[in-house]
């Protein structure tokens, strides 16, 4: 029971962070057809900028300023990079963002060094909020939960209830029609790209001190975010949400299971001292998202909630 509750809580927080990252990626993909390989690099950029701003001023300023800055960088990248490559097709765009991820990684190493920086939870949130089964639960995690939930509601409201959201939704499926109606489609694209990057930056701000802020964080997070987007179904925010929660819960609960494969498949004769039997569920946790990805693409290529095939 105890492990289950903690796994559920931590899994939900991890899942919400994943959703914050993948919602921007899904929006960008469904609108422009670009699977932004550098998306996790913007997440890393958000964490590092927040670290620098926190050192100079305070965490609360960083919480607003860092995502805005990352969004600005994203807009510049779209305007002067992606738009140029767009004419050469989707493979060239994917390659461009792949190279961009390389560049951002190296630039981060120049500015902030090769080792992890000391980006810490702000003192005002650094206390145990409540005690559960004798273990203290940090308040910052609940803070992450709230920020993510707030962002979720705000995004939903923006897309479904405002005029701007209506135009964005229309531009997702019929960009030419929207253009003919007099809307500036390239500007919409640039804004959505910037907003998506800003969301990734926000995830970096609140995730950077929850995990570790080091130059490897983009490489670790990037592939998992792809998995979320593809498993959820491209272009579907609901699907991305379900997939993010699923993967968050799957990974955190797998880490807390101490059983080995022999314990589970012992009945078909898998011995505990064989190499396959010795593998524990916990050590398989990093593989699970990719296993899920391959399975989904084989069985249901459109993803959980997607309305079209990838």
């Amino acid at each position: 029971m105890e492990t289950l509750v903690f796994a559920l809580l931590n899994g939900a927080i991890y899942g919400l962070l994943l959703f914050m990252l993948s919602s921007g990626l899904t929006l960008i993909f469904s609108m422009m057809g670009v699977l932004n390989f550098a998306h996790a690099s913007f997440y890393m950029l958000g964490a590092y900028l927040a670290f620098t701003i926190t050192e100079g001023t305070s965490f609360w300023i960083a919480l607003f300023l860092a995502p805005v800055l990352v969004g600005g960088v994203g807009m510049l990248v779209e305007r002067y990079g992606l738009r140029k490559v767009h004419a050469q097709g989707h493979v060239a765009e994917l390659l461009f963002t792949f190279g961009l991820a390389y560049l951002i990684d190296e630039l981060v190493k120049i500015f902030w060094g090769r080792t992890a920086v000391n980006y810490r939870v702000p003192e005002i949130l650094d206390f145990p909020l409540f005690t559960l089964y004798g273990a203290q639960y940090p308040a910052y995690r609940i803070f992450i939960l709230f920020v993510a939930a707030f962002m979720l509601v705000a995004l939903w409201y923006l897309l479904k209830k405002t005029r701007a959201g209506l135009i964005i939704q229309a531009a997702l499926s019929h960009p030419h029609m929207v253009g003919s109606l007099g809307h500036n489609v390239p500007l919409i694209f640039m804004t959505v790209f910037g907003a998506g990057c800003a969301l990734a930056g926000l995830a970096g701000v609140i995730g950077g001190n929850y995990f570790v802020t080091d130059p490897a964080m983009a490489v670790q997070m990037g592939p998992i975010v792809f998995v979320v987007v593809v498993v959820g179904g491209l272009g579907s925010l609901e699907g991305a949400f379900i997939a993010a929660m699923l993967i968050g819960l799957l990974q955190t609960s797998a880490i807390s299971i101490n059983a080995s494969l022999a314990d589970i498949f012992g009945f078909i004769g898998l011995g505990a001292d064989t190499e396959l039997g010795e593998i524990t569920i916990a050590s398989m946790a990093p593989m699970l998202p990719f296993l899920l990805l391959v399975l989904i693409l084989m069985i249901r290529p459109r993803g959980l909630m997607g309305d079209r095939e990838v």
Binding site: L35, G81, K84, V85, Q88, H90, V91, A92, L94, L95, F96, F98, G99, L100, Y102, L103, D105, E106, L107, K109, I110, F111, W112, G113, V219, P223, F226, V227, V230, E275, L276, I279, S283, M284, P286, M287, F290, L291, L293, V294, L297, M298, P301, E309, V310
Partner: protein
Amino acid sequence: MTDMTASHAALEPSRSDKFRQRTVPLILFAVVLLVIPLFNPSRSMVTLLNHMGITIVFALSYNMLLGRAGLLSFGHAVYMGLGGYFAVHVMNWIAEGTGIWGSVPMFSMPAFGFGAGALAGAVIGWPSCRRAGTPFAMISLGVAELVAAAGFMFDSLFGGEMGISGDRMNGPELFGLSLGPVDEVYWFIAFWTFIGVLGTYAFTRTPLGKLSEATRDNPERVEFVGYSPQRVRYLVFIFAGAFAGMAGGMSAVQDEIFTPENLSLIPSGAILIATYVGGIRYFTGPIMGAIVMTYMGSNLSDYTAGWLLYLGLMFVCVVMFLPDGIAGIVYGTADTIRQGRAGEMWRTWMLRLMGLALVGAAIITIVEVAFRWSDGYGEVFEPFGLQLTVENPLTWVIGILSLVLGILALRRAAKGGGK
């Protein structure tokens, strides 16, 4: 050329054309491979050449997917790695010498890698080749992560973090090569590089090779003609895996070790960059890319800590401005000279070169100064005796002024200016 009434027979290249365009380059390549040892290259140079040979075969196999079939893979190193791992295991079986393994020559390792790579391609390609484009790229990424993770898990097959090492000086000798010293390994690598180039080139001439290009350009029409694009992709994928495995077998003999790192996304990304920078629209592009990238990888990393940054910059620039890569420049220039337009071209070229030199100097200055500043050891970047520090205004004059001037020159050249 534009004569619409020309019959099919007239469109076909003549016998001498075929010989000149298809056979002569291969002969030249073989001659180059034979002549290189006459220059008495140093041991480290031979090792570098061997690595170039391996990368050439690997890049050519990757281009069977990316350039010919239009399939962007983020996990091609999986097939080279699996082929190489199998070859290392075979090397160890040869060392034990039990049964039939005692009579297998070490020279044949790439053939074993070829088989293992084909098998891996056949197994993994089945689920991944159903769709092209982004889904294919995503599956290849997922598979690469899975295989790399499995590599760290199954110690008896992959040797854990230490990897598995072999010894190339076992088994019967072939062609009188003991494969002990590197210059004997050179002949081994040269032989198999030639086989690899010949094989991948021959593949482009087969009906399957032609169909793969058709599938890249228009899968719907291929289906109308009566072929299954899925099946074409699958078969091409198996061959690409096989040639990657062959490169793995070459690497197993040259380096005598394989680790799970060889299966990961890092070498997959590196071969993607090498192939694309070389030029995916030409058969020889990946060869040029492999040579340049291997050279840069082994030499540039000694000079500067920022070589990955230069690599990334170069890659992004090639994607944005030079989608035909190095081969595009080489063939484009050769065409202009052949058409006798060299005179009008060379002024644009001078402008372009000047711009590139200025931008290059600016970027190198900024990056090198930045790296030394971020290391914090107080080292100073001193090109030509200049003391360039962060405080020195000269640094920023060189950095920013030449960057602006260089970009202006390049823009002018792009508009066909300079005449």
